[in-house]
């Protein structure tokens, strides 16, 4: 298992390199001259040159890149152009918000999606199945920003149960923290719940047809064991992968949701820095979230191996 983890980690290195290259190149890939964009339309040539020099854009590409890598490896992601802080600090301040949001949404996704899929499979082609599949389809089809707005209208404006937006740190008040994240995480989760329920249902139907399920029944195991032990563990093998992908999507989905609910998270940071052409922040956010996703993938691989022995032994 340790060897498996080590090989996976090594395999992730080229991906990280590629990710960092892309992050660095953002400055050069986005059309237009960053210096003049940052300086604004009214700037003089001298001002633009000064900014160019400050960003090191006047030096050769390779030199710029090596310098950037040098800084990044020391944990220095530069300073934000718009915010009066370092990129690192800007990100660190916002991580708890996005993390809380994603984890809450992930928990909702798993707690609702997996059981819904299992129940639909066990009651395949009945009214229950039709209801679950229909709801799942609805969840997949409804755009999350629209759902977010509708939830605000219903729960904040009409019923006045929940705040329309804003974030309360967990340390300040766990209850208000939860209330501030309930609608955002639900808006984020609904699509994922739909996806996960459908995939769980399909996988469960497939697994229920397998010979080993018949063997489990032939051995006289009670139904809860046949389903909850023998079938479910096999269902979890592909479902774990999907959950990993879901979590990645949750992170990117947070750009929209954090904007709608005015949550000060990574997603909104990225959105504002893109609109404001805050290149260092864009670079840093991309690099850190991409690294997070690569690590997340690693965790998924390890979970996968923990469930399925065939993966562990390299088959």
């Amino acid at each position: 298992m340790v060897r498996f983890a080590a090989t996976r980690l090594v395999a992730a290195l080229p991906v990280l390199l590629l990710v960092s290259l892309v992050s660095f190149s953002v400055m050069h890939l986005i059309p237009g001259d960053p210096a003049s964009v940052i300086a604004g339309p009214a700037a003089t040539n001298q001002e633009i040159d000064a900014i160019r020099q400050q960003l090191g854009l006047d030096r050769p590409f390779l030199e710029q890149m090596l310098a950037w890598y040098g800084h990044v490896l020391q944990g220095d992601f530069g300073r934000s152009i718009l915010l009066n802080t370092t990129v690192w600090q800007a990100i660190v301040d916002r991580v708890p918000v996005t993390f809380s949001l994603s984890v809450l949404a992930l928990i909702m996704t798993i707690v609702v999606g997996v059981p819904a899929g299992v129940i639909a499979a066990l009651r395949a082609n009945t009214a229950v199945d039709a209801a679950v599949t229909g709801m799942a389809l609805l969840g997949v089809s409804v755009p999350s920003f629209w759902l977010a707005l509708m939830l605000i209208v219903l729960f904040s404006v009409i019923l006045e149960w929940l705040p329309t937006g804003g974030y309360v740190p967990f340390a300040e008040s766990p209850v208000d923290w939860f209330r501030s994240l309930l609608m955002p995480s639900l808006s984020l989760a609904l699509l994922q719940i739909g996806l996960l329920a459908r995939i769980t249902r399909a996988t469960m139907l497939e697994v229920l047809r397998q010979d080993y399920v018949r063997t489990a029944r032939a051995k006289g195991l009670p139904r809860v064991m046949v389903i909850g032990k023998h079938a479910l563990k096999n269902v979890m093998v592909p479902v774990i992968t999907v959950i990993g992908i879901s979590f990645g999507l949750l992170l990117s989905g947070s750009i929209v949701i954090e904007t709608v609910y005015s949550l000060p998270g990574i997603g909104r940071l990225l959105a504002t820095s893109i609109f404001g052409r805050d290149y260092p922040v864009i670079q840093g956010t991309l690099l850190l979230t991409a690294t997070m996703l690569v690590l997340l993938n690693l965790v998924v691989d390890l979970l996968y191996a923990a469930i399925d022995p065939r993966v562990r032994y390299g088959r």
Partner: protein
């Protein structure tokens, strides 16, 4: 000897896109305590389905038992609810399958898959069940059982996996073991070993065994009585010597002629011209008539019942009508 299993007029239908199709139509057979019964017939004749019906495991939907009776030690199995049937399965009636590859769960250790039977049916604790599982693995001829317990199915050869299946099936010393083509998926040398093991365990445990196979050669070696099935019906049944000396249904005779080919390993398929008609496409009257060299116009008149040929020996062919 006392009756262990008595099946009367068992019929099973499947719902398909061509409508409701009968796959077993009126199967009757019986099995005494401690007896070894061979069930033979080509692919698709309904052998597995008969076994699954005894286990209460006919896939449903689309399958459904439409009529008949299955008595096990005097109890009517078809009238039992799922909970009662679950207690019988694995405890009193056990079954092993053709594909040891797919019949074991890939994500649990083989030790767990044997031990759980003991935990569920005999209420053993984890350690006790594990110990018993190790003993069982040793008994079915698995070397180094303590180490094997912790291994996963994909780490074992096909022969070893089938031994694990046998260990799990025999864990609670069932009164009846159903072995559905237990050796078909294995290498020839391993086949002989597994058959020898089954025969050995049968003698030791004294359990009745229903051995399903399309191989009459296997039947000759291990069973005491044979049931020959064709297209969802029993066409001949009797003591193994009687059936081999005097095959009384042309289908049995044709199967027997195909044994030499099997022994030489030329082909696993009996060399009878034509194929078994699919359920729903059965001819009127005797279902074997279209492939039968003795067929006469009367064969199409009605489905022939089992006529007595000798005491305990019956064949469903109008040539034996009194």
């Amino acid at each position: 000897m006392t009756r262990l299993i008595e099946i009367e007029d068992l019929a099973v239908s499947f719902r398909t896109d061509r409508g409701e199709v009968e796959a077993l139509s009126g199967v009757s057979l019986h099995l005494d305590e401690g007896e070894v019964l061979g069930v033979v017939g080509e692919s698709g004749c309904g052998k597995s389905l008969t076994a699954l019906a005894i286990m209460g495991l006919v896939p449903s939907p689309p399958g459904r038992i439409t009529r008949g009776r299955i008595a096990f030690a005097g109890r009517d199995l078809l009238g039992l609810d799922e909970a009662a049937m679950t207690r019988i399965r694995g405890e009193q009636i056990a079954m092993i399958f053709q594909e040891p590859m797919s019949a074991l769960n890939p994500v649990f250790t083989v030790g767990e898959q044997v031990a759980e039977v003991l935990r569920v049916h005999e209420g053993l604790g984890r350690t006790a069940a594990r110990e018993r599982a190790a003993q069982l693995l040793a008994r079915v001829g698995i070397p180094d059982p303590a180490r094997r317990l912790g291994q996963y199915p994909h780490e074992l050869s096909g022969g070893l996996r089938q031994r694990v299946m046998i260990a799990a099936a025999l864990a609670c010393r069932p009164k009846l073991l159903i072995a559905d083509e237990p050796t078909t998926a294995l290498d020839v040398t391993i086949q002989a070993q597994i058959l020898a093991l089954l025969a050995d365990l049968q003698r030791e445990f004294g359990m009745a065994t229903m051995l399903i196979t399309h191989d009459l050669g296997v039947v000759a070696q291990v069973v005491t009585r044979v049931v020959v099935m064709y297209a969802g019906k029993v066409v001949e049944e009797g003591p193994v010597e009687a059936v081999f000396e005097r095959p009384s249904h042309p289908y049995t005779a044709a199967l027997m002629r195909s044994i030499p080919a099997l022994a030489e390993g030329v082909s696993r398929l009996p060399a009878i011209p034509g194929t078994v008609p699919a359920p729903g496409a059965w001819p009127r009257g005797c279902r074997f008539a279209p492939r039968c060299t003795h067929a006469v116009p009367e064969c199409g008149a009605g489905v022939p019942p089992l006529y007595p040929v000798a005491p305990g020996h019956h064949a469903a062919c109008i040539r034996h009508a009194a």
